[in-house]
Symmetry: C2
Subunit: 739 residues, 2 copies
């Protein structure tokens, strides 16, 4: 996209995404260096994970970086680096594009060999089964396709009670972690956005993908995907001739930089057809990914559904700065919907047409991006996959964010601070830190105005998924809106000491202007007020020399006479200068993070693989505690009632399951929806003082404790002030034969 | 709208709304009986409150129902009742429409006289000043028009930090009060909705207003508003002739029942023109109020932005019922955006194009709408404005919800329960209970399928605003979606005892059907499976008699032969019957409730009317506590730090204002944004043990207490476990000369 920053879920602008049918393991070790040259922005689409493939994640993670494996990979890494260096050198020397492209092809081939070796060295057993997870999520209505009784709509999902609660808890935690803890200014802007706003931001012209249509059926395909799939099919065909294969290899190497003409040429030359029907295809056309609509009844007020929440913050910049009493830096945040009309969305929650985003825009003096609280995160360790690492064939490396900023790997403290806070949030809500890395955009992946950009990528069965973008967007957006509206979007910065400046102004005679230019007089006035000192002097000179001056306003010209203008000169003392703030933007796709959390929480009971469950972090679990009477005997009712009261006193959400099933079956049912703790009331409970058993869902271990202690213990466990192992030390173990 | 239930914010379906430039007081006492016959649904648009008008609400409220006033109003009430009775009688006897209309005109005249007398008897002083409130809300960025640097868009608003926090707190409380306390199933569905869904719900065909356009400029007007305003202008013109005035009076009395032809006739006859330009107007055209868009790239997948969240719940009914283990009753709830493309929205947050709704759909056995927890609200008193009261010229009356249900005024316990819970919620978040009534829809205001409908109306300077609809929607929506999709949307109900039934089925030979009808074979199969027992027997008879049978499927006919069909007979024992649940729907427009809360919380300091502030309930206040050091002297810093820690320990949001202004000015600033409590650290604080003063914003009274007690006291005050007067009794008063 234009704006490299708000990268989450963002689609490439008339760009290219790589969909590979690589195995999970391939992707796991892959250093993704694909670059989008057209848009200055790259969008890694992780490979589709074939439904049957499975893998044992823990094994991969364990074997990831053993010295033995590294020793075997070392020469391959060197081979990648050799061509990484060559590419850099060619670019630095401004070598012809064709030479750079050739070097990139070789670089990619070497990277591929490295990746394949990595895969070969990794163990092959697998146990993660996405089908089972999807079954659970659907069956217990975490989420499911929207309008399915009407046949369903791809890319739209409805969240059921459990998904909704999980999402709400994740958002609530986000609000606490960022907005409240950092004192951000939260706003809530409309999804409906007038066209001129998105024209200024660049979305109307460039937020698009190239698309081809089946000439007969009208079926639509993303042009780059179609070419890639068709080329790969031929290249894997043993009967295809070598010259064609070679030519196609060249196409694939260049595909990311292709425009519509290049793609059309390839489609024509290799006679590519619609994969569904074999029919001919139209030339590529740009398909804008925003949903269009109109506001009001006339039909001529064009609008779109916003593709990101960020623009709502930018257009409110003046109000927010004022709310902050004119002071920089400050951060504004928004939690809300974004909409993108994907051509053919796949991959469940990863690529959807309507989604919740959480975005922060941190406004800061461009000349000072230090961050007061940076010292608090200085020693926070993170897995960083820098642009250098990617070019050098090196894996991501762990270092503290303090070190990364000091070494200049991460551009500044503010960006570093948000990266560390993002990492902390993700881990807090349940992302496995071993499957979380921050990948830096390569120089030519970023929009031209962006200074640095790091995506939080989470490893799932779809590969490394970009879930949060952390970008330094510089002053691009504010400048664009300011240009379009003629409204100054600046902050005042106190000068070290006051200075005296000369002021030269062209003051118009509005009566004359009005008479001469009628309704355009206002435009002329605005244009005059925006002239620089030098321009006013040029105008003055020409007015006195030629007796007139042609003032250009947009496409129009206005002839000014000396009577219309008085040039005034003065000196004034200024204490402040006006600056357009830079923007650091962390941008979260909550649906993607949520999906990653579900994958990372998914478990199968050892020895009973059919029994699947979710080990959600108590903080975000939809329900904190289950309450199960061992029998329907009414004698237990007063105890159940007391348990309810005890849990309610501590504001703990709970669910009583007094249905008929065996206790084991009921446990399994509560485990499936991620309830982390379970209370059982049995006949032992009746002895005074009343006791209950408390079960830890993940380990299935149980303890027995007094009912009066239940609330405080569960509350401590849920808020993670107490570990389960501590509770186990404090209370007697309870053994059951029911599971 | 079609669905009388989800009434909040809902626009009349090709119907008519009444905009009166009545005074606030007029409206305050007005029994609104306007009826929309076209759509079976009525939408009271409260009168515009002229910006200059002011009133002293407390006075009105005090004088509302004194015996003296009631004595003077009594004969007028009787006069209204006389015609109310006549209208009922005419309707009951099926009298001609013209006679009913005439009686309604007289009824309205009498109601007007009653209202005018009520106004005359009410005191005239005024103190509520909406301009001042709007100034505060804009200046402190509670909310403001969206995209104003681009010229702004009517009907769209952005919420700033304070508005956003207030809204988030209100929603959070709604979630607690309804979803958590009642164990509802929350869902989160998409705004994008395919056309067939909204076709089934009736919105595509009937969710519209009549509109006329300026023939030259294309400017659009709501036809009914235009007629009303033009007629009223003529009627208030002393020079206009009496015959015209009389004719227009007749028009106004009938306007609500007018269709496009009637309106066109009136516009032509009285020569009404565009109020902006005096140009001619087009005939009225229906303008659908949904925002249209398309999903996907082909352009032929039509969709809309949902006008209500309810449909998302209905299409998920099966999943939700299953989640609830097949049991009725259960309630589902959704918090999300709704969109309505109003023709020309006015009135700030009251009428907007994009808004947050909170909707509940309670699914219940139609033959048993009792509610287990009803006894908990039985004695809850409410101000009810029944249909009877409205027809009889009587004011709303206070009674317990228990009594209302027992007397049959409110249709059933479930509806009554939600009305009471709605009342409780509204008061909890800050609606003044004296300005809150529940108004019943008149028989012909409701959609044909609705059984009973009560709107929670809140009195604001815009008049009585409908903020929550509480409706019994019967089984309309589920039936519609079921019909369209052929998916059964039913629940199973256990029969008192099993029964044996005969089953007669027409079983098709699919091979033959496929050969004969090709792709229509499936439709024929579905149609056969839906035949009743009698229809199957008729088919069997005719097949054997005539050798063929013409089966109608929608508009098509299929000729069946005996070879295609086998009629199977069996008996089976059934234990359950299938029922389509009724739906009780409380539907909240959160923006409207929020605006009412802001009006009801708005105060001016006595003796200093320029000093305005918001006395928000602590529960929803954006920030709970301010912290103000009396001076910038660094000696106070350790105490400030200790205050911060003390408040954070109790999870209390606070704002430190250590800016330069006087303490009085800083208080005023925190009062404006509705911070209910303020802590001041002064030089007295330094004496050991450290103390601070605590200020109650609404009364400006202060107490002094030990810093170690601060957190628990503020926490108790904020959660309303302690009253301010209690705190005053417990701690010494602190007097200051600073305010």
């Amino acid at each position: 996209m234009l704006s490299a920053g708000a990268a989450v879920l963002r689609t490439v602008v008339v760009g290219v995404r790589t969909v590979q049918k690589a195995s999970f393991a391939q992707e796991f070790f892959k250093a993704d260096t694909a670059v989008n040259r057209t848009a200055g922005r790259k969008k890694p689409i992780p490979p589709r994970f074939t439904k049957k493939s499975k893998l044992k994640l823990s094994e991969y993670l364990k074997n990831m970086a053993t010295p033995e494996i590294e020793a075997q990979l070392a020469p391959l890494r060197i081979a990648v680096k050799e061509y990484g260096d060559l590419v850099r050198e060619l670019k630095a020397n401004g070598a012809p594009k064709i030479d750079i492209d050739k070097a990139v092809v070789e670089l990619k081939a070497r990277k591929k060999k490295l990746e394949e070796t990595e895969v070969a060295l990794a163990p092959k057993e697998a146990s993660f089964d996405r089908l089972k997870l999807e079954d659970l999520l659907k069956r217990r209505f975490f989420y499911d396709q929207s309008f399915s009784i009407y046949g369903g709509v791809t890319g739209l999902y409805d969240f059921g009670p459990m998904g909704c609660a999980l999402k709400a808890n994740m958002i609530q935690e986000w609000r606490k972690h960022f907005i409240l803890e950092e004192g951000m200014l939260e706003v809530d802007c409309t999804s409906l956005t007038p066209e001129p706003v998105l024209k200024a931001s660049g979305h109307v012209d460039r937020f698009a993908d190239w698309m081809v249509k089946d000439l007969k059926t009208g079926e639509c395909f993303r042009a780059d995907h179609l070419i890639k799939n068709a080329a790969e099919k031929i290249m894997s065909d043993k009967k295809a001739d070598e010259a064609t294969k070679h030519a196609l290899q060249d196409v694939l190497a260049r595909l990311e930089g292709f425009d519509d003409k290049d793609m059309h040429e390839v489609i024509t030359k290799f006679n590519f057809k619609s994969p569904s029907t074999g029919n001919d295809l139209t030339p590529p056309i740009a398909f804008n990914l925003m949903f269009p609509t109109q506001i009001g009844p006339t039909g001529d007020f064009k609008a779109y559904l916003r593709p990101e929440t960020a623009q709502g913050i930018f257009v409110n910049f003046k109000r927010l700065l004022e709310f902050n009493q004119g002071k920089l830096p400050f951060a504004a945040a928004q939690i809300g919907l974004g909409f993108r009309n994907e051509i053919s969305p796949r991959q469940g929650l990863i690529r959807v047409r309507e989604f919740t985003m959480c975005e922060i825009e941190h406004f800061v003096d461009p000349s000072d991006k230090s961050f007061a609280k940076f010292k608090k995160v200085h020693s926070y360790p993170m897995l960083l996959f820098s642009a250098c690492n990617q070019m050098d064939g090196q894996p991501a490396q762990t270092m503290t964010i303090g070190e990364a900023v000091e070494k200049g790997i991460v551009a500044n403290e503010t960006l570093g601070y948000y990266m560390a806070r993002t990492h902390k949030y993700l881990v807090k809500v349940g992302v496995d830190p071993r499957r979380l890395r921050f990948r830096q955009h390569l120089g030519n992946e970023m929009a031209h105005y962006a200074q640095d950009c790091w995506d939080a990528e989470i490893l799932t069965s779809y590969g490394w998924i970009e879930c949060v973008g952390n970008a330094d967007r510089s002053c691009y957006d504010l400048t664009q809106h300011s240009k379009t509206t003629n409204v100054k979007l600046v902050a005042e910065k106190k000068l070290p000491e006051p200075k005296t400046v000369n002021v030269v102004e062209a003051v118009p005679n509005m009566a004359l202007l009005g008479k001469e230019f009628k309704k355009d007089a206002k435009r002329v006035q605005v244009a005059l007020s925006q002239l620089s000192e030098g321009e006013v002097e040029a105008l003055e000179k020409q007015l006195s020399a030629a007796g007139s001056y042609k003032l250009k306003v947009d496409a129009d010209e206005f002839a000014l006479t000396p009577a219309m203008i008085t040039v005034k000169r003065a000196t004034k003392t200024v204490h402040v200068e006006e600056i357009t703030p830079s923007v650091i933007e962390p941008s979260f796709g909550i649906g993607r993070v949520m999906y990653a959390v579900l994958e990372h929480s998914f478990r199968q009971r050892e020895g009973d693989e059919q029994r699947t469950f979710l080990a959600l972090r108590p903080l975000v679990a939809p329900i904190k505690c289950s309450v199960l009477p061992i029998s329907a005997n009414e004698r237990l009712n007063p105890i159940i009632e007391a348990v309810r009261e005890e849990l309610a006193r501590y504001d703990l959400s709970y669910r009583v399951d007094d249905s008929a099933g065996s206790i084991g079956r009921r446990y399994a049912r509560t485990d499936e929806i991620g309830i982390p703790f379970g209370v059982t009331v049995d006949f032992e409970s009746e002895k005074l003082p009343w006791t209950v058993t408390l079960r830890h869902a993940e380990s299935m271990e149980q303890i027995r404790l007094d009912l009066t202690e239940l609330g405080s213990v569960v509350s401590a466990l849920v808020t993670e002030k107490m570990e389960w192992t501590e509770a186990q030390q404090k209370y007697p173990k309870f053994e059951t034969k029911n599971e």
